[in-house]
Amino acid sequence: MEPTLLAGCVVAAVLILLALRVPIAYAIGACAAAGLLLFFSWRPGGDLNLLGGMRPALRLIGSNTFAFVHNYPLSMIPLFIGLGHVAYHAEITTDLYRSLRILLRKLPGGLAMASVSGCAGFSAITGSSVACAAAMGRIAVPEMLQYGYHPRLAAGSVAAGGTLGSLIPPSLLFVIYAIFTEQSVNGLFLAGVIPGLLSLVGFLLTILIWCMLKPQHAPRQQFDEVVDRAAAIRGLWPACVLFLIVVGGIYWGIFTPTEAAAVSLVVAILIGLARKKLNWSALIDSGAETVRQTAMIFMVALAAKLFTAFISLTRITPLALDWLESLDPPFYLVMIAIVVFYLVIGMFLDSIGILVLTLPFTVPIMSNYGVDLIWFGVIVIKLLEIGLITPPIGLNIFVIKSVTPRSVTLSEVFKGAAAFLTLDLLVLILLLLVPALSLWLPQSAFG
């Protein structure tokens, strides 16, 4: 069978199975495995020889899956996931939010601003946007509703703020991107810092404008408790320490990212134990949540590894590149097409799924144009983050909905988040036009 035809059939089968609610890992894995088997058993022009194809196919499946699991740099993934869970159970997140709430109380929409900034702070500890939205949603949304904030502002700000999770390091999506594109995790982590902060500024501005237009949505707070600024600042230190370990450690070259992940996890546990916020069962719980999530993510990534090997065997990408070259479109057109493509599929699919399914195609196109793949990584992750709050499938929206009171409806959350999209798209355009925003930090660290 012609390899290109085979590749087409496999991709179609994946899409059909995904639509039928087959988990991403099974759909990609089974189709890629079947594709590999057929590729090796059915040489173009030859007869089908399944027995002959079995040996190379099994070898490739065995080698690629095992090597993916038996892997040192990837230990970053469970370690960073663990960091997020431990930080949550050790109430580092709650303290962060409480402190910000006090420090920002004078500003219009102060509680919403504290929530969004809290998301940014928690992003610096956790690797995933959904974890970020879930943790902050649980703490901040009920608080805002209690103080009379409009549900749209309350839920929307946290849903949007949660999307900082993957842009501000540490970030699972950057790690996965790094693996599939052979880019430096260090570089990507540092590249995400400024775009992350820029997005934060965009969200804060949105809240400001919102509160100026509709002040009744965010009543000024009257605190029952005594305002203690010093205590509020003290509440920030655990999060700051962890952020310094991860970003500072990488920037000054004290650790590799893997070491930063391990050290910060240990430090988070020690902080939790020292402040008596973390007990034995909470520690075990965070560990259990971590390994389950890790297993889940690795099954998807492992299936994707097979899919990538299959796609590269069929040589479909070089063919597509030749075709693209013959058309010779200007770069900005290609870039616009890619941005729109990611925005549209971001409406439907899960971030990790999108990354592993699309990178085998988009990255060769980008490197063909000589694009810096670190910058492209920032753009793709930003696009995926936007996808988390766009309808119909916005994972962050669902998460916020599931951790907030029933009175807040799903469409209310979507509408609230939509308000944040305008400035977010402006930030995206800025990142597209000024690559230095992403590249300056990694370049200043590594020369």
Binding site: R55, L58, L60, S63, N64, A67, N186, T256, T308, S312
Partner: protein
């Protein structure tokens, strides 16, 4: 299909492209090679079994990953007294085509094709290092039998990947790194570690190309002949290219084209003897492991050393 673990740039990749182009030309387009770089098909560790099972027809194999399966071929990584690339490549090429090693490859379902080399092993350091005594207590990144030998000389050995070395040298996690001139330049390690101790020690040569046995036996006799001849020519081509790259890298690092230049210290005669003595122990360790497995390491080693002497004379 050719599977390589590395990126498609650098001297080795260029030499492989040369190999593919020559093969195409000399067989009138009968045999063409499609490259899969960067381990997109098989990782470095899995290439031997992958080529054996026909995932790829050809692949870059690294002896270090299979210390037992390719135990004899691992002879190429021993710190023997020879730092000339052409001599080393020719010696390991002849040796690997000898019956003993060929059998080892055959067991893995592959046939040995030809060889690469890393070039002679040098040491790049943060602080000035002029003698072997200076190495005492230093943290050095090193691999395989070279690491064992340096450990015997009092150094503390750290294992880490070449890509992480720059930062480790910069932050002082490492004092020195075992490396080759061209790789020091490629990884820009000279920026953070301006002192080089020119050990001109043995090379890493358990590092070559293998072909699936079935693929090879499917070639016509004529093509087999062309293929074998080209495999031999590859050695000369690679040695020439590598020597040139290494020299250029050294010259550019010394002159300091980008910033302050590096300082290169030569090893004294006495130290050279001491280094060889310490290396001899690592070599003995290897022969002991081979005989444990029922092989004749002594004989293979003698053959290897004889080949090295022969080629040195021919040079």
């Amino acid at each position: 299909r050719f599977s390589d673990y590395g990126p498609n740039r650098g001297t080795r990749a260029e030499a492989l492209e040369w190999f593919a182009a020559e093969l195409d030309k000399r067989t009138d387009g009968d045999l063409k090679i499609e490259f899969f770089w960067g381990g997109s098909l098989l990782g470095g560790r899995d290439t031997l079994s992958g080529v054996g099972d026909g995932v790829a027809d050809l692949g870059t194999i690294i002896g270090f990953f299979t210390p037992k399966e390719l135990q004899l071929y691992n002879i190429g990584d021993l710190p023997v007294e020879n730092s000339d690339m052409w001599v080393g490549l020719n010696a390991i090429y002849d040796l690997s085509n000898s019956e003993m090693i060929a059998e080892e490859f055959s067991k893995a379902g592959v046939k040995y094709v030809t060889n690469y080399t890393t070039g002679p092993v040098q040491l790049i350091c943060r602080s000035e290092v002029n003698t072997l005594d200076d190495l005492n207590g230093l943290k050095i990144r090193a691999s395989g039998p070279y690491g064992d030998t340096l450990e015997r000389l009092g150094a503390e050995i750290v294992r880490m990947s070449q890509a992480d070395v720059y930062q480790a040298l910069d932050s002082g996690l490492l004092d020195c790194n075992q490396n080759y001139y061209y790789a020091m330049q490629a990884y820009r390690q000279y920026e953070v570690a301006p002192y080089v101790l020119a050990l001109d020690w043995g090379q890493n040569m358990s590092f070559g190309i293998a072909i699936n046995e079935m693929t090879y036996s499917g070639f016509s006799d004529e093509n087999k002949e062309v293929f074998d001849k080209l495999s031999r020519d590859f050695i000369d081509h690679l040695a020439e290219q590598m020597e040139q790259t290494d020299e250029e890298a050294l010259a550019s690092m010394v002159s300091g084209g980008e910033g302050a230049g590096i300082t290169v210290a030569e090893l004294s005669e006495e130290d050279r003897d001491r280094l060889n003595e310490a290396s001899a122990q690592s070599i003995d360790d290897w022969t002991a492991r081979v005989s444990e497995n029922g092989g004749d390491g002594e004989a293979l080693l003698a053959e290897y050393q004889k080949l090295i002497e022969d080629y040195k004379a021919k040079q």
